[in-house]
Symmetry: D2
């Protein structure tokens, strides 16, 4: 029997990738998003938001470890952490592995996503929402950043891509990064997912440029994500993780992390910060930065 | 946002049709079949079995009325009816509209489908399973026909298509029709769904030929089914519904049917039995009949 | 090997149909359109314009015979005919079969399409472009109608669907039909393709309403077109073909047509003008007409 | 307008990737294969063989440079080279860049592919077929290897994947590698494409194991190939390219290669031989080797 129940993810209007769905496990529509948990034939359980594979048990650990640990291991004693987005709770899960962390504030706009995660995504958050250090806030991340009086050692942006007419594109601009800087402690840093070097290379580079413009120090990592059908990128600001050697990373993991990492170690660190030549060339070539007036979007 | 959650139905390995799914309402896997109830963007609620659109609220009434009424209105006083298949309960629903009917035995092999229908498909069966005239049997239709001691006035076959290596293909053969004849009262008749004149015209004609071979009198009707992406066919044996005029059909509906029909009336009757020229030509040309030794299959 | 070379035709943004391509036989891009001749696995040779199956050797004869003959056979002695569109030359081919026809003017905007047809589509036009009665004009049909001093017995519109932001949508409005009326002889009539009753029923009915508004007499026919994945409709103005009986049609074909028809005869005539009940109901319900100010479009 | 002309490549029966085709530039069917040159919207010109993207101007240089140079730069003075497959002529093009090379024998089974390449794929071979060192043989590579009396310094296998019931799967077995060893000079080596670590990781590892079994020394590299929708792997036998440092590679390129490389250099070398952790783990876990009796196949 030919496969018939498909997620067709459009990376651009001229590229689509079809993943066979074995079963729909849960589905909800909030006022913000269409949320669906499925069993994929290839990836096992996968979370789909608005038609995009958000994360799957097959490789979410690669994404979340690479978003969180290069930043936190580059900081001296990260204690007070802010996460924007990250509804599944997996970014939170990784942050909480750091022994130095005393408090994590997670701000997500969509209560339905959070309730969905609590109810169905235990394999993702693994109880992180119940950790006594976790403070969960339902609200608009942009507004939260403008209004909070607190200061953070690290801010992690686990957001949807900058899509035109969405609300998230503003969270990739110079103006927003400046707001972040104001609520960051001295020597603090940020990390953000940075879209796909395969499908939106210019966006990836522009996010890097914009972070660098504001934080002076910036680094970019990448990895292949099978469930995203291509490469995926991350950008870090205020820190220089790539200056840490393989052995330093392994040593810091040993000292500072409680629990196991599945992907990230000194070896994977080196791979992730060694960008392919044709990507490096684009870093040389493109000098665009994203502003509220001239924001960057993923192609749609 | 481009559509991303799709049923892709393969009519043949070289034709597929994609219908956008708005939401999955229920899903189950039995040992026989994968059953899914969805909300389609185009058709509203739809039942999908093993990747085939089985029936949708958009046009299931056309299918079920055309399967049932030409047969029952051609018979004198149909009282004891047998249905094989028809899990949604909509064929049953149509049969029960006939005032002359005293008893309907419905045999379906898949208890899970029946329970699914009872639980989720009220808009299809509309309570037909609870009618005191209904006798529901979970079991193999082929075996039931071989073993029953009862005689029926009408037998209605609402089965999946004759697919190679399935169990249903035997229920379209000469041998099986002969078994049906043995449990039919004098002047009784049968009706069967007969696959798509668009995608499997040879199968449609062969079913007609096979029914004619056994029952001597046979008729074929057809209609366009949007949710099946093409024409759909039906074959009747032992009766000659096409000999009834528009007015006779309207008169018999008035006298013999309790409740309303949405599609079938004298006018639709005439349309349905007026086969297009290129289909009639195939009836002239093809003289194949389906036997257990040389059965006919839909292309796959 | 699973099929890999596909035409995916989008009937609406939530319905697509995939037809396997065996080979691309010719392809051209004009300033107006993308033209492609392929060998389909299911339909044989097929012409694709801007991603829409325009006509295939499998069933183009049904479309073109039903567009042309109900109109011309309803007229007394059609002699001077105007065709707008119809680049393949198949509408022209059908018109030229009428012995009464002395002259056919065909106006098509896209010279590349015409040259493509002359070069590759002989099975469609069958030499019709070379007929001494044919007068071919490359130009804008709308303008031609405004500027011509001639009068015609019949005008046939074989146009692309009324798509938003296209130029063709204006050729389905009341204002345009009034222009047509001015260049029509007394007792003349028009025929137009009228989109799909399956995918754009409201447009089909609105075209009928608009034609009726202007020409007082209007009729609608339909047929199932496999290569269009659904039903297809036609509207005639100034004539009443449905009032002709089966026998009258057969008789007129015998007297007035040179050459063979493959689909259209008295029997097919009756079928084509017998609209299904649910379509008739929409004719009762919808009273919209299309104007330049409030035009009707197919969903896109 | 939604995209309508698609290559749908099936990586497995439960994963497909759609690439929009702008235009078909050339198409031929040989007795072995269906060959098509298209203009892709995303990748520019691309060669499709039997529905698989074979190579595109977007990234073919990555594939061909990584197949050829790690092997040839690991050898001392490679002079006499054998290529099996590689119809586009791009592997040949890369081999000819080595100043030490005196003679390249290329054996391809499909004359139509070669003629197609000569006629349409100049951007791939760039005249390599006309090089005086090139000796082109149309024939079965398997047989050639069994019958030749020559000895080679390097053998490069640029073959289609090991597909069940194809002829190519035998060219990935222990028995075949032993035949290769017999026609290899002392200190010679081989390189083979090794399928996708994303879609057929077990096959990739098994090819490595099999090469190692026969040649004792074996290495594996990989890269992300956008046009193949995932990672792609290569295996080298009889040599240890990964033991060469970044600087040694850069130095050898300078000394031994005439013309420019676009991707491969010391830096890219290091990246390509640094396999991700989860792939390394599979190298530990899987110890299967492929034999003619128990061959390995890609999933289909």
């Amino acid at each position: 029997m030919l496969g018939w129940h498909w997620l067709i993810e459009w990376q651009t209007p001229y590229e689509f990738h079809g993943h066979l769905i074995d079963k729909v496990l849960a589905e909800e529509k909030s006022s913000y998003q269409h949320i669906m948990l499925v069993e994929f034939k290839r990836f096992g359980k996968g979370l789909i938001i608005d038609g995009k594979v958000q994360s799957t048990l097959y490789d979410e650990h690669i994404y979340h470890e690479l978003l969180v640990h290069p930043l936190l291991l580059s900081l001296d004693n990260p204690s007070n952490i802010l996460i924007l987005g990250g509804g599944e709770g997996a970014t939170l899960r990784e942050v909480l592995k750091h022994k130095s962390v005393r408090r994590v504030t997670m701000v997500d706009i969509d209560e339905k996503v959070i309730n969905f995660a609590k109810k169905y995504l235990h394999e993702w958050h693994q109880g992180a929402f119940e950790d006594s250090r976790t403070k969960l806030i339902i609200g608009d991340g942009y507004k939260f950043v403008e209004e909070t009086n607190e200061k953070y050692d690290a801010i992690i942006l686990d957001l949807t891509d900058p899509i035109k007419d969405s609300t998230s594109y503003k969270l990739y601009t110079k103006e927003f990064y400046e707001k972040l800087k104001r609520i960051l402690n001295n020597n603090g840093g940020i990390a953000t997912q940075a879209t796909s070097p395969s499908f939106s290379l210019e966006v990836y580079v522009t996010i890097y440029n914009t972070v660098k413009e504001v934080f002076k120090r910036a680094s970019a990592s990448y990895t292949y994500m099978a469930s995203f059908d291509g490469l995926w990128g991350f950008v870090y600001g205020g820190v220089s993780p790539e200056s840490l050697s393989k052995d330093e990373i392994d040593e810091r993991i040993r000292q500072r992390i409680a629990g196991k990492l599945r992907y990230y170690d000194g070896y994977s660190h080196q791979i992730s910060f060694s960008l392919p030549k044709y990507i490096r060339q684009e870093f040389e070539r493109i000098n665009k930065i994203s502003t509220e007036k001239e924001p960057i979007y993923v192609p749609a």
